[in-house]
Amino acid sequence: MTLEIVLVVAGALFSIGLFGVLARRNIIAVIMSLELMFNGVLVAAIGFSRFTAPAALMDTSGGITEAAVRSALTGHMFAVFVISIAAAETALALALVFAFYRAQQSVEITDASAMKN
């Protein structure tokens, strides 16, 4: 397992999600695709944390320094924050989908075209 493989997986997840956001018409599917993009970011964050931060650990000659531990844990902290805020975002998104359905009787994004010049 190398950093390259992790980043390829992360990039693939991110790109599939980006494609879904741009191509899907169902709002729920778009939100799922957005989650996929966030998951791609998570994989990258954890991968960087696993493969680049321990290099900082090894650089220290006299054991593990506090800075090195902090550096190693930063990627994980990144992931935890991304997960929790993405959850808040999804809650808001679902509330909006409900409201949208009530107004339009549809969850197709092509029906969101009331506003034109």
């Binding site: 709002i27 931060a53 990144f78 339009q104 994004i109 506003m115 010049n117």
Partner: protein, 505 residues
Amino acid sequence: MNAQDYWALSPVIAMAGLAIVLLSADALLAERMFGGRRFGSKRALSWVAFIGLLAPALLALNLWFGWVGEQTSDPVVYGTFTADRFALFFQFLIIGATAAVILGSVPYLNQFRDSLGEFFTLILTAAAGMMLLVGASELITIYVALETTALPAIALAALRRDGFSIEAGAKFLILSALSTALLLFGLVFLYGYTGATRIDEIVARMATLPFEAGVPFGSLAVMLAVLLIVAGFGFKMAIAPWHMWVPDVYQGAPTPVAAFLSVASKASAFAVLMRILYAMADFDPVANDWQILFALIATASMTVGNLLALTQSNMKRLLAYSTIAQAGYIMVGFAAVGAASSSGTATAGPQSIMYYLAGYTFTNLAVFLGFTAIIHRTGDDTIAGLSGLVKRSPVLAILMSIGLLSLLGMPPTVGFMTKAVIFSTAVDQGLIWLAVVAVVNTVIAAYYYLRIVGLILFGDTDNTDRTRPSTGEMTAVAIGVAGSLVLGVVPWLVLQLIDDAITIV
């Protein structure tokens, strides 16, 4: 956390606390509470919110002048937040914009009788997020602050709950989440490349890493990170080619919310992008490619915004395209990285950007809030609906005309001075073609701004009902116009402040 940390965060904490106070007050003032007796009017909420804003404002003033408490302009809270004067300058802008929006939208908000408390809670939470964002000096903090700004703003856009408003909220949510995902990927790459998330540590480690010749930004990882970060913030700043959401959201969202988004949200995104990028400006490969990147973005944003504004018949959409063009002018200042100011240091770029943002905040608020006062009474958001406004409401018509002329860049308003400063900075940096493009764009913009001014002042109207804005609305618009005149006539008042506030270069 020690005392220094709490002092540095005190304006943000006060703003977030005010949001919680408003939420509680809304519950206490709920109708039919205490056995059917009303415990006071919900209208009081506006005044609680407006007067409560004194608390964060005073705490920010305290940090600027250093009256009481332990203060430092170094990063605090484990390096995640910096309460330097740069952050404080933008915090003043955000608090001022919030206060103006609250003051200028009291009559408009009467239509939200059931969700008045939510409106204030959300707008103050968003303001707290912005105040955190402008001082954030660590990547995770930037992300959290950005989402604290974005999520309440999305709920605010959908607050009116009719078809347009819900649609605006849904579009805003999807594009905001998309931009956040792009931004996050960029931030993670920056972390992966340097192994640090604090901006000062990132810069220190980048100095030890090799730059490759021939690769944009010196390394592919930095290039990817910068492009993704600029794209992510590009959505928030409403610059082309990431502007598609702006007209729909501004049209569908309640007008005061559009006013708030167009100044506070934009200013905070510009602030944090300046903080990240100027920290890296010392590396020559980054600075050189940066100039080209931002010059292209500025050209696209000015041209797209102005050309599309020409064809609009809805005033809110026109103002949306106008803000896209204004963001393009600000990007001209970004392109002029490294331009030296009179004092010899490379501060001319950020100085011109901050001056532009200060002037733009006053001017745009005046126009948006003036328009809020009209649309609330006529319900007509087309440009034709403004025809002959001077016969219905002379003072408001004249104030709005001055605001529109300032957006256009007519002397002696601030719009002229800020454009002059920002374009001459670009010329100093050898970006003469960019300054020419910007001036041509100003000429294009003259067509649609002057058309509206002409309609307001000389247009015919069948509607002879006098539109009487409330005192609060008039005060908010008048402050905006007064600000754009004063800053245009005596620019050194604010330029002196900005000189003190450039702590990031």
